[in-house]
Symmetry: none
Subunit: 279 residues, 4 copies
């Protein structure tokens, strides 16, 4: 992102930018961790508020906490807008929109009662957690996983399309077999059941009752059992693959110097590396 402030700009902006947007200075790292903590705490507060018994007793305090965090996040958002070189680019970026949506719902509750639940959007700010991963040990490891998944993306896409086609066909068959009963009340619902089954989740909220239905379900389950090997195999093979071709191992010349008996010369050596004698 080339939206950092120019060198000619005021010094505090540059300092604020490096603290808020970068994480390679001690201050920047401290800010990142404090922000992560604030996000987690504000999300926990929203969570607790959704529990009826806790809301009944501590709802007042939770709402105060909510307003404090909203204030802090609003302040942070305004500073971000102030210090970036191109505020509009930031405001329209994914993280910028999430940052904005993390503030708005609390303000809306002044007008509209039920809008508090929109605060759950704030949980998306947890995506910033992944920026913290850039610190220390995690860079390589996170990148390794992402690289392996990216390299396998076409294989996984083909695989998911095959699975999806399978679930549509099997789901429709089950709708016909079970005759629109036992929970298989429509084709989309039957496809939902097929997905629940082939992924081995198996809630049991819908399950076949007829003999033919149970037979088809058994086939689907055993197929799912064999099929689950495919994505695992794809990613395993990708991860086991060496990241880059190994550097060529230099081969030494299998000749011994006739003066000093030194071996292991370069393949194209004409003089001994130890005594300088012509080989």
């Amino acid at each position: 992102m080339e939206i950092r402030p120019q060198d000619t700009e005021s010094s505090w902006k540059r300092t604020a930018y490096s603290i808020i947007f970068e994480s390679d200075t001690p201050a920047g790292r401290a800010f990142d961790i404090a922000l992560l903590l604030a996000i987690v705490l504000s999300v926990v507060a929203v969570m607790l508020e959704s529990v009826h018994s806790i809301d009944a007793e501590y709802g007042y305090y939770l709402r105060i906490v909510e307003w404090i965090f909203t204030g802090l996040f609003a302040l942070e958002y305004l500073i971000r807008l102030a210090v970036v070189r191109r505020p509009l680019a930031y405001a329209l970026s994914l993280l910028g929109i999430i940052d904005f949506l993390a503030i708005v719902p609390t303000l809306f509750t002044l007008v509209l009662a039920g809008s508090r639940y929109l605060l759950v959007i704030r949980t998306l700010r947890l995506l910033r957690v992944f920026r913290i991963f850039k610190l220390g040990q995690f860079v390589g490891q996170g990148e390794f996983i992402v690289t392996a998944l990216k390299a396998s993306r076409y294989k996984i896409l083909v695989f998911l399309t095959a699975v999806f086609t399978l679930t549509i066909v099997v789901g429709t068959l089950m709708y016909v077999i079970e005759g629109g009963q036992h929970g298989f009340t429509s084709i989309p619902k039957s496809i939902y059941w097929a997905i629940v089954t082939v992924t081995t989740v198996g809630y049991g909220d819908i399950s076949p009752v007829t003999v033919l239905g149970q037979a088809l379900a058994s086939v689907l389950m055993i197929m799912g059992y064999a099929i689950i090997a495919v994505p695992t195999g794809i990613v395993s093979a990708q991860m086991a693959m060496p990241a880059s071709p190994a550097p060529p191992v230099p081969v030494y010349k299998q000749v011994v110097c006739h003066v000093c008996q030194a071996g292991d010369h370069r393949p194209d050596a004409e003089y001994c590396w130890r005594c300088g004698e012509k080989l």
Copy 2:
């Protein structure tokens, strides 16, 4: 398939053939994508019709959509029949039969009321999706998965037979242990339960209640847990295997020098490497 029209045939047939049956021209590709879209939309219409609340309100329009798609597919089917060189071969091929079955059920509804649900056969036309995969990036990836699965087919077959034998034995034992109660009302039903369990789907529509039954179920589950490693291992190992065969290992000449008894000569050696004697 050698059922393409001959060069001596009329030009429009050849053009229609290349558009409908081939996908390497821009027009052919556009047709494929339009067909894919039509299949998806017609399947979605059938799905929506199976939902009671939607059918009650929009059933009339959905039925019109159904007739339009049936008309289009019928037209497509007739053109396919007209342009291929050997219409019978196409009509009796798997895709030809599916294409035919995608039209018939709608016509049947004029005579027989309940036959509309046969339209679900149309979902099988989604198999054509895989032909679209032939475009671009997906060829190699799809082939890679199919090749890995094909290479593992005997291993997977042996594995599935072992799993199936296991489920029959365990299912029968559970029928005896649970005494025909708690859902284990017959041996086939108990085998269905064993498959649900060993594949870790676990609906919970049938689950053991007696102590001995739960103990046996625990053993089956832990076995299933260890067993699931086998197909994954098979496919992973297959996929991790290098695509090309290893470079040929240089083989020494199996001849011994008659003078110094030295072996391990180059395959094309004419003189002994140790004493210089003619081999």
Copy 3:
């Protein structure tokens, strides 16, 4: 097994032995497949008998089929006893006992009414299926799986012990946390639940209700999710391993003969392999 009949014995015994016990002659192979079919059919008959509606209508015929198969298996058992060199060794071997138990229950039904269900032991004869695998393509593949599992047996044993310890500790904790309610009525039952959970089967016949219980269950599930990688990794790595270490690639001497310009000499060559000149 050195229990085959001696050469001095009567010829029919040797023929019968090779047909019944061996599978490398056409007759032996035909017998194996016929036996497999008979076992499958007799097991299917027992299965169908356990279904109440089928038993009510066709029970009489199924019982006749049962007696026919029992007669055939008894005959086979007697011939096996007659032709093997050491009948007692066969009778006390695992397969011999299973063969015997496959006949007995039907005879018992003459005396004791409910003993028919013991016939389910006959399903164990399906273990003979694996002998059929010795035919053709399947040998190597089946052996490959068994070898990989055998090589991993200590690792899998250590892993299963760890999983078992985990389920005991977590199961006991859940018994205390849920307070003997919500299905967690005893420690063994709670351990059963822990096994159902960690193997991701998840029947839902028992599931935590308290907040603390659901939190512990979440931890167990995520651990189980990470843990399932272990047996898969073990078997995958084992299967991906080359069967034997690669033969050492001979390295040639990087010296060119000064007479004929030939290269690629043995590392310890003193004379050119092409012209015999001293290197």
Copy 4:
């Protein structure tokens, strides 16, 4: 642990130490196995006591067994304290605390009725099982698994954080979509459901009922299906990795000959390999 008794100490202490704390003498091994058996039996007794029907009939005897094992474990604990060189270090170590907690609850039952259930802490003594693994075959295998998991710990941590973020976001969305009904009564409960789903456990105690909820659940399940490949791939790749580090790649000396400008000399070269000049 450098807490073994000094050589100047009494001989019985050294003998007792080697028996109780070490397992490389026959006596030490016998003690380990006896202890393992005692732990298993005492845990089984606690388990059986938690089953109401067994407790009603054999509760009296089980309580006697409990007291005997408590006495034995107390004796063992005291001897351990007596023979180690630094008793406090042992008493405050993890295993020391567990050993202590395995005795206390029984004593507490004299004062407080319900404290017997604290005996479940004794199950943690099963952790000693892993010390037994140090015997024979298991050392290498157990270490192999632990090493592979340790080497993958950062990858697994990144992966678990991603899974956890996903479950929070999806769980919160489900709470809003299902409108606090159908079991999704609070955000923590919805997150619990998301964990149950993404790990493919699928109890079915909570499952989506609305169309939008089932659609989101389907996406989560298929994502979980593809995601499960990641930890498996990590561990598989780790385990397939060759045990020994690759041989060191020979590094050339970073010096250029001042006469002929040749580089890539051997690290210990004293003369240029091309012109023979002193480097």
